[in-house]
Symmetry: C2
Subunit: 196 residues, 2 copies
DNA sequence: TCGGGATGTATCGGGGCGATATAGCCATCA
DNA sequence: TGATGGCTATATCGCCCCGATACATCCCGA
């Protein structure tokens, strides 16, 4: 179980927390929420769902037409054959527990976006720790980038320099953005934000 | 041969075009040039070098101490045993040819940074096509992101909205940055930039 | 002179991604 | 009506990338 797949499990459980849906819709929702940051491919989605199913964190509802025994995922024929999944109590528990964690995985490029997307279900103090952790992480990256561009200052041509400057400015922007989020959070410490 | 590894080959050949070096240094240089955009891991670097070696695009110089026959890469013992690579004529040719291409791979997230890093060895008209191709690609992404955030406007909480807004603004910034590069290129059409 | 940190090459397993196959649903139009 | 094509939907497979790890050497300071 890699960090990445843990993250994916978290995201899927979070989406199913809002109600039962099928795989295709889960992908659509996740890509909609994460937008420009991350996309999810089918080659990742369905194995992840199988894993969650095996561990009993989600369950599939009875298929509408086929009244026979719910076929194994493996023997099931592909095609437009909707399989609606729902979260189990164990799944809810796993999600709540994961939402309370503040691992370094919550700060890195892949992790932070997903965690932020489920902030509405995250406690206020955990939110603050994640935001601050992410900010210091990005600041570290900024320093590394600056050292790099300093070292190669003389050697690099104008286009490479432009690339580095753009990267540097983007990183600076992310720090400012995070600071704004943190300040807003401080002003309204327990505001869970507008929820559906 | 995937798009990605083609790109990596291009980058390695470009670096070796400046003179012979060893693997570790190649990795350092590439990460220095691409900075915040892309990192290169060892698990990717050495197989790529082996591939280039097999295809005769690069060659390894005789090791300094071991006077015996140059051992196969496989049987070679690890450790601090510098292997200096140099580009071959066939390698130079392959690089020049790749530098002339304007595939869609030159516009995507991974590809564009690498191509830009070697603009000094790219002809002016090819540079312009790549810059404009990249810009229209990013503009497409921007529209997709906007459609997404439009669709989920009512449903999403404030943090997810903040994430999307940040992504949207970052994409807008990239478009402006590319426009600046294009304008500068138009003003000085044949300026190859400051070279070492 | 001894130890630790930077330098350096190499491999391995896990798993994500893109492509592809399959196929039901639905609108359009001759 | 039936043929076509595009969207929805599940599923799998191979390529190859990444992170971790191992191993080995160099260099510097205490």
């Amino acid at each position: 179980m890699s960090k990445r797949s843990q993250l994916l499990d978290f995201a899927l459980l979070g989406l199913l927390h809002d109600g039962p849906t099928h795989g295709y819709e889960l992908r659509r929702r996740l890509n909609e929420a994460l937008g420009a940051f991350r996309a999810l491919s089918y080659g990742t989605l369905y194995p992840a769902l199988s894993g969650l199913l095996e561990r009993g964190l989600i369950a599939q509802q009875a298929p509408p037409s086929t009244s026979a025994a719910p076929a194994t995922t493996g023997t099931r024929s592909p095609g437009r054959n909707r399989i609606v999944y729902e979260i189990t109590p164990a799944g809810k528990e796993a999600f709540e527990e994961a939402a309370r964690r503040t691992d370094t995985a919550a700060y890195d490029d892949d992790g932070f976006g997903v965690r932020l997307a489920f902030f509405a279900r995250t406690e206020a103090d955990v939110r603050m720790r994640i935001l601050e952790g992410r900010r210091s992480r990005v600041q570290e990256q900024l320093e590394t980038v600056r050292e790099n561009s300093e070292r190669g200052r003389e050697r690099l041509d104008s286009w490479t320099a432009a690339l580095q400057r753009h990267g540097e400015e983007s990183t600076e922007r992310e720090v400012r953005w995070l600071t704004e989020l943190i300040d807003a959070e401080r002003r309204h410490p327990t505001d869970p934000g507008p929820q559906p």
